[in-house]
């Protein structure tokens, strides 16, 4: 089966000579469809760089990035841009909604940019908002929405259409822990529909929603969790009180 995302020996170097910075070093990472992977690591470990390279927002210095089995380096710039619009969804910490557009216009924008007719794009956008329980906010502008609602709209925009890969950088932003958890539940629900996800977070309680947690340090993948044995193992440990 084709993996939704595969990074093979990916390295990223910024600058050159004495100012050279190795942001990523020979990263190997695969994400299956339906899998949610969290990336954790200290500041400067390369988490955000990994995400931008996975989403083809910037190019790797060496190595291969495959999205749905397609090596990004082998396709033209315009095809890369099309892949970004059609296959990859992004969620950012600060939501990145356009203030002059309503919720449904924000969500349907990537489809319209991709040539989908306005009415059809907005109908698809409306469906994405329904999946995230914010359909009744479709015609509100971002500054008329609460923080939690704005993030739901941002996630709707990231999963609208047939996108198979969702990349999120600190997606719970400044939300409190309960609203942050709601965002993670929504991401998990998207994975259950077959979307693959990579979430960068520094909060362990949010990372624990992932199927797998990958740890970065100084640009290397240093470790990852193994599949949890299942919730019943907690109960089997007996009465500890």
């Amino acid at each position: 089966m084709t993996r939704a995302l595969e990074l093979r020996q990916v390295s990223k170097i910024y600058g050159s000579g004495p100012t050279e910075v190795h942001a990523l070093r020979e990263i190997e990472l695969s994400v299956e469809r339906g899998e949610l992977v969290a990336v954790m690591g200290p500041s400067g470990s390369g988490k955000s760089t990994l995400l931008t390279i996975a989403g083809s927002l910037e190019a790797a210095t060496s190595g291969q990035v495959l999205v749905d089995g397609v090596d990004l380096a082998t396709v033209s710039r315009s095809d890369q841009a099309q892949m970004r619009r059609r296959s990859i969804g992004y969620v950012f910490q600060d939501f990145n909604l356009l203030p002059g557009l309503t919720a449904v216009e924000n969500v349907s924008l990537p489809l319209e940019l991709d040539g989908v007719h306005g009415k059809a794009a907005r109908a698809t956008g409306q469906k994405a908002l329904e999946k995230l329980d914010v359909a009744d906010r479709a015609h509100r502008y971002p500054d008329e929405l609460s923080g939690g609602e704005r993030q739901r709209v941002a996630i709707a925009r990231a999963i609208v259409g047939e996108r198979g890969l969702l990349l999120a950088d600190e997606p719970t932003g400044a939300l409190d822990s309960v609203n942050g958890e709601a965002v993670m539940r929504l991401l998990r629900a998207a994975m259950q529909r077959g979307v693959a996800g990579v979430v960068v977070t520094h909060e362990a309680h949010l990372a624990s929603w992932a199927d797998r947690v990958v740890f970065l340090r100084d640009g290397h993948v240093v470790d990852q969790t193994v599949a949890p044995p299942g919730p019943e193992s907690l109960l089997a440990s007996g009465d500890r009180h």
């Binding site: 200290p42 362990a204 309680h205 340090r217 470790d223 193994v226 919730p231 109960l235 007996g238 009465d239």
Partner: protein, 192 residues
């Protein structure tokens, strides 16, 4: 978890049999804390001896219906308002392991920190699975799981902070290790 006070709380709603108390205890703590029926009866016996609960008479223990007394009500009200002991001595096993690791030649302390970080996050994943499977409306389970998750997250944050501190001043960290626990214990005792 104080089982006696949890039972008093359940009895504050009205008289109940031991078996029902066991069921309610488990369901209301999100079934994360199992409690066997023997523990329930032993605890009830002690509460009865101390005058905090009473029964109707001399029936078999499974036939006895327990009621909270007014002394039991006072005890429960006091317990709810008494802060738990949040200032244990700094003899946390994980802290000690890391302090010891600093002194063992050839040990990569960052690797030791990562082993523990991964282990804690794997436990957190299991609690989150429990919460995810239960749905958003199971309040008791969410509260119990959150308590464990945030306690475990505090450990991860400490491991992260230790990682950064070690990176910033590896030689100082190694030199300071010997007297640190004793000094910290002394300071905590003075402040209490």
């Amino acid at each position: 978890m104080s089982v006696p006070h949890a039972l008093l709380a359940l009895l504050s709603e009205g008289p109940k049999y031991g078996l029902r108390l066991q069921n309610e205890f488990e369901s209301r703590t999100g079934e994360v804390w199992p409690l066997n029926v023997g523990q329930v009866y032993t605890t009830l016996q002690r509460l009865e001896r101390d005058g905090l609960v009473e029964t109707d008479g001399e029936a078999e223990r499974s036939q006895k219906r327990y009621r909270i007394t007014s002394a039991g009500g006072h005890e429960l009200a006091n317990w709810l308002r008494t802060p738990p002991d949040l200032v244990p001595p700094p003899r946390d096993e994980l802290v000690i392991k890391v302090l010891v690791a600093l002194e063992v030649p050839g040990t990569d302390v960052h690797e030791i920190l990562q082993v523990h970080r991964r282990h804690v996050i794997e436990i957190m994943q299991r609690y989150t699975q429990v919460k995810a499977a239960a749905g958003e409306d199971d309040l008791a389970l969410a509260l119990v799981a959150d308590a464990e998750l945030f306690r475990l997250e505090a450990i991860v944050r400490w491991l992260d902070a230790a990682d950064v501190r070690l990176k910033q001043q590896p030689s100082v960290a190694a030199a300071a290790v010997v007297d640190l626990p004793r000094e910290l214990t002394r300071k905590m005792e003075v402040s209490q």
